[in-house]
Amino acid sequence: MTLEIVAVYAISACLLIGTFFTVVGAIGLLRFNDSMTRLHAPTKVSTMGIGALLLASMIHSYVFGEGSLHDLLIMAFLFVTAPISANFIAKVNIHRRSCQMPKPPKADTTWATLNVPEADRDIEETGKA
């Protein structure tokens, strides 16, 4: 009985933590100035918040139901894929030159993300304008 009460308080704490992180991520997405700075807020903070919400769901299933660890699967999937999608969005920002550009590489002439093939140069230029 006492353990159940402690578990319900733990669920509430996890829900509050998750909501806090999700709201902070959304505020960061809305308020930051630069594209690359905006990338930080949702991809890291919001993923963390959803992790806390999934933890709350897991504890809830153990207290009020049969109990399952299914939510660990979603948590692991999100934590693995969030950096990958963040990397892709950062490459999009570099490709569109909507951020501070990285220094040119030492060995090659340009970065692969910026290296548009000859045939696509005109499409690229009209796409930017």
């Binding site: 669920i11 709201v23 919001s46 959803i50 939510d71 999608s85 490459k91 920002n93 569109r96």
Partner: protein
């Protein structure tokens, strides 16, 4: 026990409101975002917040039936983010 459960219900309502506000903020960024990178990021955030809302709905109703739904939303969200980014980067999704 009843006091703790009442507190949990209150916290659940707060969590619903918070995640929904996050979803609205992502929608605002989707509309005003200058450039495709910000819009892809806003869509990715909306998918993640949608997973949060589904999980909260499962806790609210005390059922495990929404697990598959949130798993599928997570997978499709990742794939669609990568597809959008590939389209901007290469002009094609599958080369």
């Amino acid at each position: 026990m009843t006091a703790a459960v009442e507190l949990m219900d209150l916290v659940l309502i707060i969590a619903f409101i918070g995640v929904a506000l996050g979803q609205l903020a992502a929608m605002v960024r989707l509309v005003i975002g200058p450039g495709p990178g910000d819009r892809i990021l806003a869509l990715d955030t909306m998918v993640i917040n949608a997973i949060g809302l589904i999980v909260l709905l499962g806790v609210w109703q005390g059922t495990r039936i929404y697990f598959e739904a949130s798993m599928i939303v997570a997978m499709l969200g990742f794939v669609s983010t990568v597809a959008y980014a590939r389209f901007i980067l290469r002009g094609d999704i599958i080369e």
